[in-house]
């Protein structure tokens, strides 16, 4: 499986990250683009292939590790964040990536996902959100809109969907971002931002499942509608969008609304993005299921907070310093020990 010719990390190319396994997604699936952007971006990080680990759960999305030529572990449904945590804690030198779906990460795996975020291990979690269960052939997912008609909900779903960035923020995630399968360049940037963030990076990727939920994100990807519906976030930049970039987000008290620049409103009325402002991120996260507001993509939130494995290592260093590096013989012989002839 592994190639025995080794390439220096700085000379790696996309092809070095292509594994020998045939890709088995439906032709036209959004996953292909995500795979391609990852394979394109990875050589830029300048670390060698063997230091990447991909951990996934179960789902169409979770087949990802087979197709990228790094270490990979296709595990069980929903548990990838916990398994990845074990990989990272065992060897913090590794660059650990979780690939997961909306069902895998937020339905069965919801708890592991939020706990990973609060622990803030330096792991990058890519959630392919197609708002459907692909692999099990089309049941609604926790991100499907209310009233969704699917195989398991012939009269429409009854669960109000999770809003992934809002949930991540509620779980005190330190990095929350979003991109879209068709935004190839933007996606590469986001992958890069996730990589360089120290702490858990949560990247939601809207992904079209053309078999069971085709067109879910069409309004965000179609040439005609896209500019009016996608808000590209940039740190410290005003939140402008629209074909002419003449629309902006304005805060009316705490209520966000769309304004059109012109006589009434000027650029000064437009909210300026601040990746480090939890409240702005929360406001943005609430755009998701609303028709009157554009869909933000980019980094919603990014702050530095203590990282679990760093603190763990700290404790180990401290313990070794103050108690002395563990010596088994000494240790078991200390305390109430007696001798029998």
């Amino acid at each position: 499986m592994a190639k025995s010719e080794l390439v220096k990390p700085q000379l790696l190319t996309r092809m070095d990250f292509v594994s020998d396994q045939t890709v088995r997604w439906c032709p036209g699936c959004g996953n292909y683009s995500i795979l391609a952007q990852t394979q394109r971006k990875f050589p830029d990080f300048g670390i060698s292939k063997e230091n990447f680990v991909f951990v996934s759960g179960i789902g169409c999305s979770s087949r990802f590790p087979y197709y990228i030529d790094t270490y990979g572990f296709h595990t069980i449904h929903g548990r990838a964040p916990a398994i990845a945590a074990g990989v990272k804690l065992a060897n913090p030198e590794l660059s650990v990536w979780v690939v997961t779906g909306d069902g895998d990460a937020l339905s069965i795996g919801g708890n592991h996902t939020i706990h990973l975020m609060r622990r803030n291990l330096d792991i990058n979690l890519l959630m392919f959100n197609n708002r459907i269960y692909g692999l099990t052939k089309g049941q609604y997912s926790p991100t499907s809109e209310l009233g969704k008609v699917t195989k398991s909900t012939p009269m429409g779903s009854l669960d109000r969907p999770f809003n992934p960035p809002a949930l991540a923020l509620g779980a005190d995630a330190t990095f929350v971002a979003r991109t879209i399968d068709r935004e190839t360049h933007h996606m590469q940037n986001m992958i890069s931002r996730a990589y360089y963030h120290h702490g858990t990076s949560f990247l939601e990727i809207y992904q079209n499942c053309l078999i069971f939920n085709d067109g879910e994100f069409r309004f965000l990807t179609d040439k005609e509608t896209r500019d009016d519906h996608v808000l590209i976030l940039e740190h410290r930049k005003p939140m402008l969008f629209g074909k002419e970039r003449n629309k902006g987000i304005h805060l009316d008290g705490n209520a966000p609304k769309v304004i059109e620049l012109g006589d009434e409103w000027s650029k000064n009325d437009v909210l300026v993005h601040d990746e480090r402002d939890w409240i702005i991120a929360s406001i943005l996260s609430h755009f998701t299921y609303r028709g009157d507001l554009p869909t933000p993509i980019g980094v919603l939130y990014a702050v530095d907070e203590p990282v679990y494995e760093d603190m763990l290592d700290d404790q180990i260093q401290k313990a070794m310093k103050f108690q002395g590096k563990g010596d088994f013989k000494k240790f078991v012989m200390s305390g109430s020990v007696w001798h029998v002839e």
Binding site: V53, R79, K325, F328
Partner: protein, 610 residues
């Protein structure tokens, strides 16, 4: 009065009182002391599921039994010779277990109307005739410690809580044991509260002095030191021994130890202990649940650590899906189940052996896993170590079935020399000219390759889907599936290669064979020793591995006319043995949340062989 000292071979004492009375601590201190003095000993803590049930109620009674002896003993004793009862409820609960004519020591200050009523006594047993068959010492312990501490100006509650030390001091006097170890321990324990050291020490002395000065005790007993194998000893409980076994395996294998787990009675102490080993580089993760705990451990195993998780029954149930992944991924992993009473939440603080089926058969698909069980608290060390060795050597999860009795019970433990422990070799694959094949197997034991992330040139993918033989690629091929199912089964069967020939205690054939596993070993051995002494043709085999079974077991079993399998379950090993060897093994199956008494087994043996 001069001490009249009488030598006895061994004594069984049970300390009982309210949850808040510190009986576990009292029992532990007594054990430590007798251990240091050189007795063999075995303990049985028994406490309620509530943190602190209402004072004085039957539900709130906490007890600690220990046997200490000049002989090599195997159990905490069938019935106490001495019952220390700190309140009416504890007398009520534990009196039925006392030996006929046994000794009772009570704190008479607690036998007030209120507490008598809470315990359901109509009249005061200290005053009516109900205890007349026993030797009763009714002592005003509360008042006496109050007197002893009067000038310390401590709150009454604080002083009241030292009465366990009084009881302890008195017992030390009765059994001719030194006070120093306990005083030393008090000094460390309360190093920041000298007042408490003083109060407790005074109470301890007061108890001792009470024995010495009051004329009510005619005799002091002496239990000679036991003839134990030479070496350094410490007193140890099963959970601690198990933690040390894991630590030793980490050191000998040169693999960092990673523990992922979730607290659950009676396994939590393993997490606590391992978490205190930071200076050995031990990493612990208190995960969000049992599934995350084992999952993290599986991830750590993939990344090349010595990966451990521990839990008890219900938590084990939650781990079963992930265990299947470890089987399929063929990663080394040690999973510890400190069993407790089931089903469901069951009896969380009581012991049971009823998770054997779950360990051997409780997963979807054909999912074989080696299962090993410790026999005594100290044996937890060896078994934990062996489990790690096998997991790594065979690239497989290994389940350790301990139980509440072993986990909390203690005994003197011959401290092993780490240099003499069997080697644990780890062969991480390195890059070579051959194409790397993740599911290429060792020819003799069938273990697959272990190639860890970070190793140049060995990038590969594993997962829970069926794998193609050798390459490890996903395969839906029918013949391959059959082959892989068989390979995984054969690999686990091969663990039998590691076993020493089965040792039969007693003669090699005869009227009856007692077959045991796990913590029942001690009671079985004691029972068999007794009936052999009566001249019966009875033997004993104890199984350390319950899956796979030793290769030579079948041929041994058929040499006996009858087979008896005592288990704290409804006959789980029995079923396995019957299916495997078609022998008509009988079960002795008590599920009462308690370990066997040797007497219970002895009785059944006697009935069976007439």
């Amino acid at each position: 009065m001069a001490k009249k000292i009488k030598s006895v071979e061994g004594v069984v004492i049970r300390f009982a009182g309210d949850s808040g009375d510190g009986m576990q601590l009292t029992g532990t201190r007594f054990s430590e002391t007798t251990a240091i003095v050189g007795n063999d000993l075995s303990t049985l803590p028994d406490y309620p599921a509530e943190i602190r049930a209402p004072a004085g109620t039957l539900a709130g009674v906490s007890a600690f039994q220990l046997q200490f002896s000049a002989r090599d003993i195997h159990t905490p004793g069938d019935q106490p010779d001495v019952l220390v009862a700190m309140n009416p409820a504890s007398l009520k609960v534990h009196l039925p277990d006392l030996v006929p004519n046994g000794t009772i020591i009570v704190n008479s200050n607690t036998f007030s109307k209120k507490y008598l009523k809470l315990a359901g006594y109509e009249s005061n047993p200290l005053e009516d005739e109900s205890l007349k068959e026993y030797t009763l010492y009714s002592i005003e312990m509360s008042r006496l410690v109050e007197n002893a501490c009067r000038d310390l100006n401590l709150p009454a509650g604080t002083v009241g809580r030292t009465k366990n030390m009084f009881a302890l001091g008195l017992c030390y006097w009765m059994y001719n044991q030194p006070l120093e170890p306990t005083i030393k321990w008090l000094k460390i324990k309360f190093s920041k509260k000298p007042n408490l050291v003083e109060a407790n020490t005074r109470a301890l002395h007061a108890g001792y002095a009470y024995g010495e000065t009051e004329r009510i005790f005619s005799t002091v007993y002496k239990v000679e030191a036991a003839k134990l194998a030479p070496g350094e000893y410490r007193n140890i409980n099963g959970n601690y021994a198990l933690s040390l076994g894991l630590l030793a395996a980490s050191i000998k294998s040169n693999l960092p130890l990673f523990y992922g787990g979730y607290p659950i009675t009676p396994a939590s102490d393993i997490l606590h202990k391992l978490a205190s080993f930071r200076n050995f580089g031990v990493k612990t993760l208190q995960a969000e649940d049992e599934i995350a705990g084992i999952s993290a451990a599986i991830g750590a195993a993939f990344a090349g650590n010595l990966a451990i998780t521990a839990t008890s029954g219900p938590g084990m149930a939650l781990k079963s899906e992930a265990l299947g992944l470890a089987v399929m991924a063929e990663l080394p992993l040690v999973v510890i189940n400190v069993q407790r009473g089931g089903p469901s939440t069951g009896l969380p603080t009581k012991t049971e052996q009823s998770d054997l089926f779950q360990a051997v058969m409780g997963r979807n698909g054909e999912s074989p896993i080696p299962v090993i069980a410790p026999a005594t608290p100290g044996d937890c060390f060896n078994v934990a170590y062996e489990a790690c060795r096998i997991a790594i050597k065979y690239m497989t999860p290994v389940i350790v079935l301990s139980d509440g009795y072993l986990g909390n019970g203690s005994e003197p433990w011959l401290i092993p020399n780490i240099n003499r422990l069997p080697e644990i070799k780890v062969n991480f694959v390195k890059l070579s000219k051959d194409t790397f094949m993740p599911y290429l197997r060792d020819e003799t034991n069938l273990a697959r390759n272990w190639a860890i992330p970070g190793t140049t040139g060995l990038e590969h993918r594993i997962g829970g889907l069926e794998k193609e033989d050798i390459t490890g690629d996903i395969s839906y091929d029918p013949e391959n599936h059959q082959k892989m199912v068989q390979l995984r089964a054969q690999k686990v069967e091969n663990v039998a290669n590691e076993m020493e020939p089965t040792t039969v205690f007693g003669s090699e054939n005869g009227d009856l064979l007692v077959l045991s596993w796990g913590s029942s070993e001690g009671a079985c051995r004691t029972a068999v020793e007794r009936v052999i002494n009566y001249g019966k043709s009875v033997s004993h085999i104890h199984l350390r591995w319950v899956n796979p079974l030793p290769r030579d077991l079948g041929e041994i079993l058929i040499r006996f006319k009858q087979i008896l399998i005592p288990e704290i379950n409804m006959g789980q090993l029995s079923k396995i043995i019957r299916a495997e060897y078609l022998v008509d093994a009988k079960g002795l199956n008590l599920v009462k949340g308690k370990p066997f008494r040797a007497g219970e087994i002895e009785k059944v043996i006697t009935e069976l062989i007439g």
